[in-house]
């Protein structure tokens, strides 16, 4: 599932976003897992929004398929959820993916830290605000706050990864926790 998140983040980067907000909420009371990515990229027109989930529709000029959002939508619908897209052409896009937390086919979250670290490595100029609402605690990390400006790219990535992994584990994050089916098969 964290790979779908990486795909959504890449969409934001391709839309020219400078600031991206990522939120992951595990709400056991209402049995909901919600992943939201909102950016300040170029946004989509209403017709683009209408066909965004279609695997044979893409904004790219050199290929014929656009699988990122459609694959995320498929994973969500298998787990009793869905994808919502809100977009404004001058302000950016917000994609919300909802799953039923306890659904047997809900994929495990996977390594979210790996997703964010590899995204930051490839897009060092984008600022990310990440918020995780876990079983134990809420964890929030803003890349603007950990940048010092003078450090190298690698030093920044390593610092980001350290803070991210520490914060996630103290908020009760479990990458391998998925629906019944995935728990039995031990897939991630």
């Amino acid at each position: 599932m964290s790979l779908h998140l990486l795909d959504l983040l890449q969409n934001s980067a391709n839309a020219g976003a400078r600031n991206v907000q990522v939120s992951v909420v595990e709400d056991e009371q209402s049995d909901l897992l919600e992943i939201t990515v909102s950016d300040d990229g170029k946004g989509m027109s209403s017709s683009e929004q209408a066909s965004a989930l279609d695997p044979f529709c893409t904004s790219s000029s050199h290929k014929k398929v656009g699988l990122g959002l459609s694959l995320a939508a498929q994973a969500a619908s298998m787990a009793g959820g869905s994808v919502f897209i809100e977009s404004n052409q001058s302000k950016g896009t917000r994609v919300t993916v909802r799953y039923r937390l306890s659904h047997p086919d809900r994929q495990p979250l996977g390594d979210i830290a790996a997703t964010l670290v590899s995204f930051m490595a490839g897009n060092p100029l984008i600022d990310v605000v990440f918020e995780y609402n876990g079983p134990k605690d809420v964890f929030r990390l803003d890349t603007k706050q950990i940048r010092t400006g003078g450090e190298g790219q690698l030093a920044f990535i390593l610092k980001f990864e350290e803070k991210l992994r520490g914060g996630l584990s103290s908020a009760g994050y479990r990458p391998d926790r998925g629906g019944l089916f995935h728990e039995i098969n031990g897939r991630s």
Partner: protein
Amino acid sequence: MKSMEDLERLKEETLQDIRLRASSGSPRIVVGMGTCGIAAGARETMLAIIDEIKVRRKFDVTISETGCIGLCAKEPIVEVHIPGQPKVVYGNVDPSRGRQIVVSHIVNLKPIDQWILNVEDNS
């Protein structure tokens, strides 16, 4: 040019250009991170490359990413740019290959021939 926001954006873009030019003297690694790359394991390859660069203390290496280049069957794809040398494109780069590329190509300047998909000579 319409507003302060446009002006800010132009400033950012120009600064980015300057940074790219400033780093043109150092090696650069580009990992393909389109949907196909992600599905093939580009995220783990990227993390392995970051870790190997850390271990080898090659802090001047710049890491970046690109989208799908149309060779989805060969993903994860990794490009290595060394200043003054042709650009080398590697295919099927799993984490272990990624580490070996860092050691052999970036540190020791010896490309690994059997994994190369393409060599582009820009000079």
